[in-house]
């Protein structure tokens, strides 16, 4: 079997997200890898997630408080967004899709084929998302003027 190169998934998530924000939203953001820190509750009102299959079985989730999801969508569309509507769902879903697409490329460069599912979105005031026992986890926080959002990757090797 061909050897698979090591990938620093935290860095891939940070770089992929920065690329998406600078190219799509003309916005520079910084990411902080929290993967080694104790798990704490992420205050999300809107989470867009996308499944990854193939060389790994995983899940990438973008967790946003309402005001952050609205401000990202507002910048994306160039207008003020005051509620969580279809546009917000589509914009954050597209970010999940693009960041996962970037990971797919990073894995392909390392010799592992990954396929993406379609994004889905969970909206609510208090919900919890869990992977399966034994899953590896990466979590990165991104700070913007309107607040913080998080990108989490859960996976197991196939």
């Amino acid at each position: 079997m061909e050897e698979i190169k090591e990938i620093d998934l935290g860095i891939e998530i940070i770089n992929g997200t920065k690329d998406v924000f600078s190219s799509m939203l003309m916005m520079e953001i910084e990411g902080l890898d929290l993967s080694n820190q104790p798990r704490s509750k992420i205050p999300s009102n809107l989470t867009s997630m996308i499944g990854l299959g193939g060389g790994i079985r995983g899940l990438l989730a973008v967790h946003c408080p309402a005001e952050v999801a609205q401000s990202i969508t507002g910048s994306f569309l160039g207008m003020e967004v005051k509620e969580i509507d279809e546009d917000v769902k589509d914009a954050i879903g597209e970010i999940a899709n693009m960041v996962a697409g970037n990971l797919k490329i990073a894995y392909a460069d390392a010799g592992l084929n990954i396929e993406l599912a379609i994004p889905t979105t969970v909206i609510g005031d208090s919900f919890r998302i869990s992977g399966i026992g034994g899953a590896r986890r990466h979590n990165v926080s991104f700070k913007m003027e309107s607040g913080t959002f998080w990108i989490e990757l859960l996976y197991v090797l196939s």
């Binding site: 299959g53 193939g54 079985r57 589509d90 379609i118 998302i129 992977g131 859960l154």
Partner: protein, 151 residues
């Protein structure tokens, strides 16, 4: 056989063989994107030849009854046992749908199963997707199985 009939057959088979529970299809239309209350959802992504998401939405009481039946013990709270059982249920459903959509399940990969739980939440497909939604009834109550496929 139509896709919805194949899904119904596969859900019934999983419930009778793995959970030892008889279920029937409910005539009630599950409706679209109504918020789920005091529920847990098992989710699994399909990738490759067909892309999509399979989900099972269970009210807490039904999820606890299913987990109890699965583990052979009484379950009184939504904790790790229920999350694991619902995740495994999603995994089994995903495995069956894979073989429904592709000969011998080739060319379709499954993502990691996950669960969403909470007092009130909405679960929505982001991209335009073809949706098949079926509601079922068991002794403990009703639940919904949903498949979204990219067109």
């Amino acid at each position: 056989m139509e896709l919805d009939e194949k899904i119904i057959e596969s859900v019934k088979e999983i419930f009778s063989s793995m959970i030892m529970m008889d279920i029937t299809v409910s005539d009630e239309n599950p409706g679209e994107s109504t918020p789920l209350t005091d529920s847990i959802s098992g989710i699994i992504g399909l990738a490759g030849l067909r892309k999509g998401v399979m989900a099972i939405h269970l009210p807490n009481s039904v999820a606890m009854a299913i987990t109890g039946s699965f583990l052979g013990m009484e379950v009184t709270e939504i904790g790790e046992d229920v999350e694991d059982a619902v995740g495994e249920l999603a995994n089994m459903l995903g495995g069956n749908v894979k073989t429904i959509l592709s000969e011998k399940g080739r060319d379709i990969e499954l993502s990691m199963p996950s669960t969403i739980s909470g007092h009130k939440y909405e679960f929505q497909s982001t991209k335009e997707a073809e949706q098949t939604t079926i509601s079922f009834v068991c002794d403990a109550g009703k639940f919904i199985v949903e498949l979204q496929l990219e067109k």
